[in-house]
Amino acid sequence: MAPEPSQNSVLVNPLATPDQLSTSGSQLDGVPASLETSVIHIGARLTQIAGVLLRLPQDLIAHAVVIFTRFWLGPESGSLCEYSIKHVCAAALYLTTKPSAHPKAPRSIINVLAYIEALGTVFFVQDDMDKNDPESYYVSEGTYFTERAQLTKVESIILRVLGFNTHVALPYTICINYLQTLGVFDDDSGSELAKRAWAHLNSALLSPQLLFVTHQPPCLATAAIYLAAKEVGVKLPSEQWWEVFDTDREELGFLVVAMLSMEGFLREEKQNWAGKRMPYTLDVVEQEIKALTDNS
């Protein structure tokens, strides 16, 4: 009775197929691709921030962000014209935490999202978080019930779009394993390197190339370590050590460049959305589509 490989191992993530990457429900509904990328990025950020405010561990937050991202991919997926990122974000967080060791009540999630919405932007620095005007994010009982109904409705739609496959494998744990294998923790710079690599993984989670749904965890972890080691100045083996972690040179190169491009992308996004309303709801998305099509 030999053990059979588990289909959903911690090393293997269900990845988006080329077909799912090339067509999306939003594009079929006429959302320009650039706007789609931008709005999904903001949704992913919204999920990350809400997760932090809900005091969730980062692996659960990342799980929710991946579920959020998958929802928009493929011809039969959710469309930005049909579902608002705020509701999908709430449902993804609810769905992910429910069976975990850190379940969150719909009320907590709805309150936290109302708070972030009141801040006016997801591109903020820490100081903005301290702004406290309870009037602006008070959720009345009536609003709560309609929001909760939306949340459970979108939850069941997410499950249907994903075919009830909510398995997510993440690179965080194996990133630490790999660093241990490379023996970097013998040195003081080891923990700095680990923090840097971890930070790269966290930004890759929000990347416009959707790295977490297109690349397997070992490759993501390896690329984050490679880039972090260059930045922190830790010397790694001169051999092709990434092959030990099942990453080939080409994929490593692509991931490193993608991770490096995050900074520019974020700067541009922040600039583009400066002074505008965040596309949390359908009407803002519609306005943006209109503005874009009028300009062209």
């Binding site: 090339s22 067509t23 994903l162 075919g163 030990v244 990453t247």
Partner: protein, 460 residues
Amino acid sequence: MTGSKSRWADDEADKEARRREKEEKKRAKLAKQKRQEEEAQKTAEAATARAQEEISRPAKRRRISNDDSNENDVKHIKSDSGSAPLLRFPTTGWSPSRNVSNFESLNHIEEGSYGWVSRAKETATGEIVALKKMKMDTSSGQGFPVDALREIQILSSAKHRHIVDLREVVVGDKPDDVYLVMQFLEHDLKTLQEEMAEPFLPSEIKTLLLQIVAGVEFLHDNWILHRDLKTSNILMNNRGEIKLADFGMARQFSDPPPANLTQLVVTLWYRAPELLFGTSKYGTAIDMWSIGCIFGELVRKEPLLQGRNEVDQLRRIFLLVGTPDEDSWPGFRRLAGASALKLMKNSPGAGKGSLRAQFPLLTSAGASLLAALLSLNPDDRPSAQEVLSDPYFLEAPRPKTTAMFPTFPSKAGGEKRRRVASPNAPQRGQAPKINMEELSGIFSRKEGEEVGAGFALRMA
């Protein structure tokens, strides 16, 4: 007609136009995407070239030892530099749930606490599957039930020959209609035992038990507690192969155990004493207790501990295996429900229990395995792995190979045992007279038969 999204324009022609428009858009998008992809590839190539400049080429090639035993599961591919084989696991993806109308319901099997199960046929392939409709409680406002979510997640991650295979999850038109498509097995052990005239043979019991424990070992190795092992959740096919089913109570656990474990798990007759005493921290030992109950049930052909309620269940447990004390189960008095137990100390039921006397036909190895599984102290129960190497399975009679298993009519498959109604022995009294008319007629039809070459053709 420009396929505008008016909610009033809903006639067929309009739908058709919209569909065509959507498809055209999709095609255009695909072509555009292809162009973009080509461009992206060019940039990516340039990027890789740049990255490669950064990477100093290695002087020595690194060799990685090759694990040949995994060859079937994992593909080795050559990396572009041709230096080392890389491991590639088969990647999976996701796709939207199909509709339940792809299946045709054949017959109803059972209604469990977590849903209705029926036998169904996939219309396209003709394959027979078990279709389980999930029970939804939407009134609570909690959305998709957490038990159902766990069942789906655990079943789709636990692929093993002794765990029922979840093929896919299909949905109906209403948001509450969610069905699990699982492989169909002819029997469950409970119904089968109720229908059988004789209990399983000792060799058969060993085979069944080994398979059950192998399934549980896999679950525990993967940090999954089943939490509802019982004969009605253990399925068997006509080749004597066992698969564990109904993961509606299952959940992932950890060491130390997660804080939010619920106490109300496992069907009463199979519930471990620590759960009855209300422990909030439990582990794999609760599944092992259930296995002990199943072992006893297989030998006796009826459930071992049929308590009417929690207290009665405890009483029956103590009658069978004796009462606990601080030596045999250190710390049990600290459990929430155990403080009231003082009364039982001098009661006539207290003592060593009657396990050995109740199973006179079991060998001593079998009896000690059963006693170990039914240890009151959870720490004394063997792990699944230890059970698999128990001497009981090595002594004669050896476990029967599954190929040699007898077959039974499948109740779930709608088959019935053919009962040949044999006549009873003659009753006292006057012997019935033979009807002379009937007797003279028994060969009467023969005259009408034509005799042919080698066979007789009867004329109606």
